[in-house]
Symmetry: C2
Subunit: 469 residues, 2 copies
């Protein structure tokens, strides 16, 4: 890349300091103190050493920068070494009736057909009483993990002796949370020596109100660990044992089986829709059978739950929550009984069709990115500024709706018909179809099966015809 | 919102057709045929019915639109009902030495400290031989799920009789994949009646080369299901039984324990870094202990693996793969032995420290968004256009690096110190600190512990001082 290219992305006042430009370090695939470089300098180093065409690659990065410098800076500072903004589509699914209130769901997802499926399910249940939800519990936990090879009874007695002091010493950190109705709600000593030699936990339970609470919990646990170690060293009886005692680590758990929400739909079997091949009753029975298969077969359950998470994660992202935390907690919950199973369940009882989900969702509506990312703030506004409990409910509904739409397709026309129809535009874009070609082929594929090969063939045909004309 | 606002986001030629503007439908929280509206029309409906301040909200959506209309249209068409682009930071982590080649990893992630942690781990192992990887297997599966209440031996015999025909009838769909070295590699009948009454699967195994293969596998399975049903109905012996036979659904599995990759680091224990409190040997032992705890305790394992997925998903997103699919497969794999466990393992053997991950990663480098999203294409370019196997290896390394950095922090200074330092800028932005205040407080917090409260207090102090001055 020439000097001109560099000038355009490195501020003038930095250019003279940018010794790397003429330095061999800029022509090496390793680099020291990379994080100290400016964004432009980082881009130049990456471009020079890792792009096929540095000019073109830099242009791709730059074309995604926001025009508003202050807004761009805000986004740059979310994480480290930011070079550009990665676009995920921000879409909406309307017509969600949840506990008799109407919502439009903001959804951030790159996979075609997810928003369409959510919208279809919402519309279907809008006419059948909508979704009902209930938060079952909101407790989160964290652990101080430590090893100890002394007498177990002595340790238990010691813990009970110092417990109040441990709680008191963490109080300065929990005061604000307590004012909001949360805080440290329980502290126990857990003997895990049957699982691993000499392994114990201090296990703490928290209520974190509208915060997801990771930073709060981790700060409390690190304080607990420090106090626990201190009192242990001060205690004559414990010291007299001459046992090994060592704090290994202190951290929250993303496994949150006691931060649980349920969402349900139900209607008379007769109110379900008949398809070409299935009566409402036959549809309901086949649907229940499909859910039972996901309860019985892990190979099916994983995909079944993946579909649920399409809906859940779209809400999690849009509302500025951490999808890795949610995913980990949800899938571990699906495996809690020793075999990986479906998160949704279905039954027919007295000619009523029931379909529901129970899912652990540790979400926040304050803290983290929620007050910082303008589109996240807008998502919360669209949802009517829900508190954490309400957001748990809405998110569970998104998962249930997604699963309803997926199973509905699977037990009737199959998943590919709808999915490939939704994916058609992506295929056409990839084949660089122009607008006229797109419209023609969208029309054509209303009555034909979409596949990448078939779209290529039809597009080729179309182009030959227009050449002849 | 006034007419002026509407004019700016709805194309002129559509305005006269936009009957909803003056229609009560635009003032209802439910809507029919929403997907048929233009983007501008959708925005107006959402704004009118769900924004606190429609003008301001529409401005937020619009400020994220790309200046380049064609590029924006491309992104709009990825999914349905797109209103804007949701920014996730696109960052890079340099200095990854993987099988003796140097990489910079493109990472898409909103969580602060993940890219910094990856970079730290990369630099640490750069000087100690780097990461070694190996793809163990690449098979994916899918199932035709069906019920049958007839004789089991008869069904098995019938399946063996028609198996070749089933495979032959799916051949037109697999030709292209076969040319690339993949295709349908195995087809079996699985009796699942011990798990659920009358439940069987046709289970198919596929090699999908450089494609993730979801569409390919689903299309094959739907064809298999159709053929299976047809031959069953044509077979005199099976019909004579008068048994119930019903295809429930056909779909790939996101559970991919046979699409597995391993990444490893190792070095002499003496080459590890001493900390203030720990010798290299004590550090190695504490690190191994922390991994053993994640193997033994599900509450710890979930968070441990969540950290791994911070790295994995950042690569998955940057390379245009589907993180829900990867998450579901990975966590189910972590639970495969009946208890949810750590994906990484560590040991000390002959004074050598070993740390490794085994993780199922069904990734693609062709198809889906990989050829469509300009930043995804650039990610593949940065990585040197890896094939699917190489991308599995790089992604596993990202997970292992992340976990190394997390455990490193956890067993030494604790997780909060580094994390909150990285999060400091977000807190300062949230408190609307100006550039001078930011620089002052970044300096201050180099030697003080970061918490939201403490940052607020210090910023307040600073502002009082500047008022006095």
């Amino acid at each position: 890349m020439g000097i001109k290219g560099i000038q355009s992305i490195i501020p003038k006042e930095r250019q003279k300091d940018f010794i790397f430009v003429k330095n061999t370090a800029m022509h090496s695939k390793t680099i020291e103190k990379f994080s100290k470089l400016s964004k432009g300098e980082k881009m130049v180093w990456v471009a020079r050493n890792f792009f096929d065409n540095p000019e073109a690659g830099l242009q791709v990065l730059k074309q995604y920068w926001n025009q508003d410098d202050a807004l761009q800076k805000l986004h740059d500072e979310f994480i480290e070494n930011t070079l550009s903004n990665f676009y995920l589509p921000f879409g909406v699914a309307p017509n969600f009736l949840i506990n008799d209130e109407l919502y439009v769901l903001p959804m951030v997802i790159e996979e075609s057909s997810v928003v369409a499926a959510a919208s279809r399910a919402a519309k279907f249940w809008l006419k059948r009483g909508g979704f009902k939800t209930e938060v079952i519990s909101t407790a989160k936990t964290g652990q101080v993990h430590f090893t100890y090879n002394g007498n177990h009874q002595l340790l238990q007695a010691f813990f009970l002796r110092v417990k109040d002091r441990l709680v008191a010493e963490v109080a300065p950190l929990t005061t604000n949370m307590q004012k909001r109705g949360g805080g440290l709600t329980n502290l126990t000593l857990v003997d895990k020596t049957h699982e691993l030699e000499n392994y114990f936990q201090l296990s703490a339970t928290f209520e974190t109100c509208d915060a997801m609470g990771a930073n709060f919990i981790n700060s409390c646990l690190e304080q607990l660990a420090q106090s626990w170690q201190y009192v242990y060293k001060q205690d004559a009886e414990m010291q007299a044992q001459n046992a090994d005692f060592s704090i290994v680590m202190s951290i929250l758990s993303n496994y949150t089986p006691d931060c649980l929400v349920r969402a349900t739909v139900c209607c008379p079997v007769a109110d379900l829709e008949a398809t070409e091949d299935l009566s409402p009753k036959a549809f309901a029975e086949k649907f229940v059978q499909a859910v039972k298969i996901a309860e019985a077969s892990p190979y099916r359950a994983v995909t079944h739950n993946k579909g649920i998470m399409n809906g859940v994660d779209a809400l999690v992202l849009a509302t500025g929550n951490d999808f890795r935390a949610v995913e980990a907690g949800v899938h571990a919950f699906a495996a809690k009984d020793g075999r990986y199973q479906s998160l949704t369940h279905a039954k027919i009882e007295n000619d009523i069709f029931y379909f529901w989900i129970e899912i652990p969702l540790a979400l926040g509506t304050v803290g983290g990115l929620t007050g910082l990312h303008p589109l996240v703030k807008l998502s919360h506004e669209i949802l009517g500024h829900p508190n954490a409990k309400k957001l748990m409910e809405i998110t569970a509904v998104a998962g249930l709706a997604q699963n309803f739409a997926a199973l509905n397709a699977l037990v009737t026309s199959g998943i590919q018909k709808g999915h490939m129809k939704m994916h058609l535009l992506n295929i056409l874009n990839q084949l660089k179809a122009n607008e006229v070609e797109k419209l023609t082929l969208i029309e054509y594929f209303k009555t034909h099966i979409v596949s990448f090969t078939e779209v290529s063939v039809q597009l080729e045909k179309l182009r030959q015809v227009s050449t002849i004309n």
